[in-house]
Amino acid sequence: MAAHLSSGRVNLTALREAGRRELREFLDKCAGSKAIVWDEYLTGPFGLIAQYSLLKEHEVEKMFTLKPGRLPQADVKNIIFFVRPKLELMDIITDNVLREDRGRSPQRDFHILFVPRRSLLCEQWLKEQGVLGSFIHREQYSLDLIPFDGDLLSMESESAFKECYLESDQTSLYHAAKGLMTLQALYGTIPQIFGKGECARHVANMMIRMKREFPGSQNSIFPVFDTLLLLDRNVDLLTPLATQLTYEGLIDEIYGIQNTYVKLPPEKFAPKKQGEGGKDLPTEPKKLQLNSAEELYAEIRDKNFNAVGSVLSKKAKIISAAFEERHHAKTVGEIKQFVSQLPHMQAARSSLANHTSIAELIKDITTSEDFFDNLTVEQEFMSGIDTDKVNNYIEDCIAQKHPLIKILRLVCLQSVCNSGLKQKVLDHYKREILQTYGYEHILTLNNLEKAGLLKPQTSGRNNYPTIRKTLRLWMDDVNEQNPNDISYVYSGYAPLSVRLAQLLARPGWRSIEEVLKMLPGPHFEERQQLPTGLQKKRQHGENRVTLVFFLGGVTYAEIAALRFLSQMEDGGTEYVIATTKLINGTSWIKSLMEKLEPAPF
């Protein structure tokens, strides 16, 4: 189930195992049969830690989703709520508890498991509703960093960016620091910490403080990570706004990947056998898990989409040839050997079929005129062309009432690539957006302004060209098929965040001091002392391992770029990636939008 977690340089299975054990311990505290009531948002992340079988072994007999009203009938001794500490969820729980039939026998015991942290505020809330006393166990499950893949960890905290940069609420940073402490407990103290940005500074401070306050935490594990790099998302607001052009990035842009799963339109995934049930085509979306456990996916996920087609057709030829082998198998031994390979070939065949279908779905979109026009404008902005005037394409999209998020992505991209828009240009866009999409969006525009995504050019100076040139963010000679630079992930644009990581490894940040000063927040370096016995003596040619932690979210294209750097022959550094949330431009902007009621249509 979790073999893919141990495939990387750092074996993340240990982290998953720790999480599973924690869960078992909690379940065993509530003796007897149980039903779990789930905050639906949590089922995805929990699925990466445990399957139903684990719960069942610990007497979980029923599972429900949390919703107001009376709890379903179930003859169990315990009802356990698995929830995030959110006030609106507390209201639902209160409703559930109050409607419980007091006369029923035997009575059911209530418990709450807060994920990732108990909240005094929530408990206070429950107390005011008069139900706090109904809960026997109120505990927390510190699911801070969830292993997504052999080199990827996420906190899946949807609102982290909004909380950090809009509301200046640092709770998610506290959780990030806690998660890093857990990692260090499992994988050794990380000797070097680098960082850029306000939030990065906070997290580093918290880690150092936590270590000082609990000197017992000095462990004797040989450090796996050499370096930790903490990066604020607001140091690089540009990258998530651009359309990702890697295979995995495009799947996410178009269909949205949730906790490694994607839901796809079923039409292209015909029923397995022709002639059988051909009439009732599936109407439910096809759900697939995407991770490196699938050999083919691991190979193509990080390629530029333009390079995916040729790999797929090559694979198809290889598999066809392999199946052809059966005609040549004459002796019993040969037939036996062919048969023994069948399961593997079948898996490869079905994997190839799926990805060919997905590639077709994506290609329909990437070859559309609108995708092309949109990308043209993005690339113009990123390479610094016409960023200071009202853009025709954006105006046209507004006139045709394209989805608001698309408009906001483009306008924000233009603003970021121009170090803010001229007041006149900004006012023009604002007016058009409000008139076309509704005045209430003034609240959203305000949030974007506060987050620095959309702003008037105050200094009168546009720093972006200097940053672009110094960090080589725009590469003219990009090779999509056989890339030699990270800019292939956006077909020309090299993600700023990853460029910072790359330059840190070689030749070091001292070479870009000037540009670092132009980017928001402090940059810093800290060292954590190791006992002499644990200091690393590097073997010749052995790669360093760097953990890059994106505070406020990371895109799949950025992950692809870091993986590309890991695989470079003379790179010298391998990367493991951690983040508060896996994002794309759409989900990110959405998290900053004011929740408005749905239109009556």
Partner: protein
């Protein structure tokens, strides 16, 4: 897009920009198709039932995953779980690969006694857990009543242990406690302390002290928003002189008002709030728009039920116009009230004037609305201008290629379409559009103007045999007066 297609081609070829397309499109596509074929043909020789992969239901959820199980167990809460065991076996057998004691790591065992991140530390007390019940007097906490310092208190709270805060009586003590909490960065604890301070301090003092403690301040503002304590929030923001935030926060409230009359009244009250200059005009417009919509809605509902207006009979309204954006309202008014005099609230020209809608926006919207009604005369009038000599001239602020697109989307007949294709200034674009929408006359005339005999001859096979168009081509080709360029 005003840049003509031809320019665009040129642009892509000559510039350093890379268009995002497959290099060799046909080849690439056929490769994909080919691999799909190959893959599909293999199905016949493979028995899928023996799939060695993880078993998945059609929706793709692995059987035995949590979300799958929620559906399963919830849908049959009465039947015993044993009945489905066969279905779950795959899941459990894969689990069996992980013996229970495979690892001795657990988050709590790692930290037990040290970091105290541990959950289980909570149960060490041997009794059931208490949440810090802030209001309870200290005496009730006999087990915990030792005098913790502010620092220890915060640390204990971070570990989820019970602490009475009532002991901190003096302002000085409370502020030290708050500063400790802030230094710990745990939002949960900071908020708990803030709730305690909010309850035990006078408002002015609380506000004054928070003003110099920005982190704590942000947490309180966030909390007040979450908890819906709007009044205290506004008081606080006013105290801090964050007037624009006060205004926006108050304006946000209108979203919670369902009744349109009440919403309108509320928006009226918002106009005077201290927004930025730019925002003030938007808020004013928002109010004016809703006011208009209420009037229009009442009128039109009446018209519709009376059944005497033809347009309402033919095209019944799909939804009410209330709370729709301005441009939608303009479209509505161009659709149902196009001919009304400027004096009425529902007339398009009145809307245009009141809200200073730019020409471009107005023409686009009016065009879309009239085209949908197939009112081609109105469309014509929209682009006709008269100069002082009385000559008429066609002009479109949005470019005629856009006009053509919109008309085409509304299924305009070729005769209408043709008229506007002819007006597209850029020759290349005109030819493209004319060819695409089969406006033969325009194509023929354009080739004639270009003196391009080869293209014109080639076009002959695109028109019907024996048609007037074919005849026209023939007569042009036979015209000896034309000096062809090829």
């Amino acid at each position: 897009m005003s840049r003509a297609r031809a320019d665009e081609e040129e642009y892509w070829h000559s510039s350093k920009f890379r268009a995002f397309t497959f290099d060799d499109e046909d080849d690439e596509l056929s490769q994909l198709k080919e691999s799909k074929r190959a893959v599909n043909s293999l199905r016949d020789i493979v028995d899928d039932d023996d799939d060695d992969l993880e078993r998945v239901s059609w929706s793709g959820e692995p059987v035995g995953s949590i979300s799958w199980s929620i559906k399963e167990t919830a849908s049959s809460s009465t039947s015993s779980l044993e009945g489905r065991d066969s279905g779950l076996q795959k899941g459990s057998s894969s689990y069996a690969a992980f013996p229970k004691q495979v690892s001795s790591y657990s988050l709590s065992s790692l930290f037990k006694g040290e970091l105290c991140l541990s959950l289980s530390a909570l149960s060490d007390t041997g009794v059931k857990n208490y949440a810090p019940e802030l209001r309870r007097p200290k005496a009730e906490y006999k087990d915990y009543s030792s005098d913790w310092s502010p620092k220890d208190t915060v640390r204990r709270m971070q570990r989820g242990k019970v602490c009475s805060l009532e002991r901190f009586r003096s302002l000085q003590d409370k502020l030290v406690l708050l500063d400790e909490a802030v230094a710990g960065h745990d939002g949960n604890v900071i908020t708990a302390v803030l709730i305690f301070l909010k309850r035990t301090l006078r408002r002015e003092i609380l506000f004054r002290e928070l003003e110099v403690r920005q982190v704590a301040l942000c947490h309180l503002i966030h909390f007040l928003k979450e908890a819906g304590e709007q009044k205290l929030l506004l008081d606080l923001l006013r105290f801090l002189d964050r007037t624009e935030e006060v205004a926006l926060s108050q304006y946000r409230e209108h979203l919670n008002i369902q009744d349109v009359e009440k919403r309108r009244e509320f928006l009226k009250g918002c106009i005077g709030l201290p927004f930025s200059a730019e925002d003030t005009s938007h808020i004013q417009d928002h109010y004016t728009l809703l006011e208009r919509q209420i009037i229009i809605e009442a009128n039109d509902r009446h018209l519709e039920t009376a059944g005497q207006s033809e347009v309402f009979r033919k095209y019944p309204r799909k939804a009410s116009i209330l709370n729709m954006p301005l441009v939608t309202t303009l479209f509505y008014s161009c659709f149902y009230h196009y001919t009304e005099a400027e004096g009425t609230f529902s007339s398009p020209t009145n809307l245009k004037k009141t809200f200073k809608i730019p020409d471009k926006q107005y023409v686009l919207t009016a065009l879309a609305a009239r085209a949908k009604l197939r009112a081609w005369d109105d469309v014509d009038a929209l682009f006709t201008t008269k100069n002082w000599l009385g000559y008429t001239k066609k002009k479109a602020p949005i470019g005629f290629h856009r006009v053509v697109e919109i008309l085409q989307r509304n299924n305009a007949p070729v005769q209408v379409l043709q008229e506007y294709v002819r007006l597209v200034e850029d020759v290349e674009t005109r030819l493209n559009l004319a060819t695409k929408y089969k406006c033969h006359d325009v194509v023929i005339e354009t080739y004639k103007d270009l003196k391009d005999r080869i293209q014109l001859t080639a076009y002959k096979c695109k028109v019907e045999r024996g048609s007037a168009e074919e005849e026209k081509i023939n007569s042009i080709l036979n015209n000896m007066q034309i000096r062809w360029k090829n």
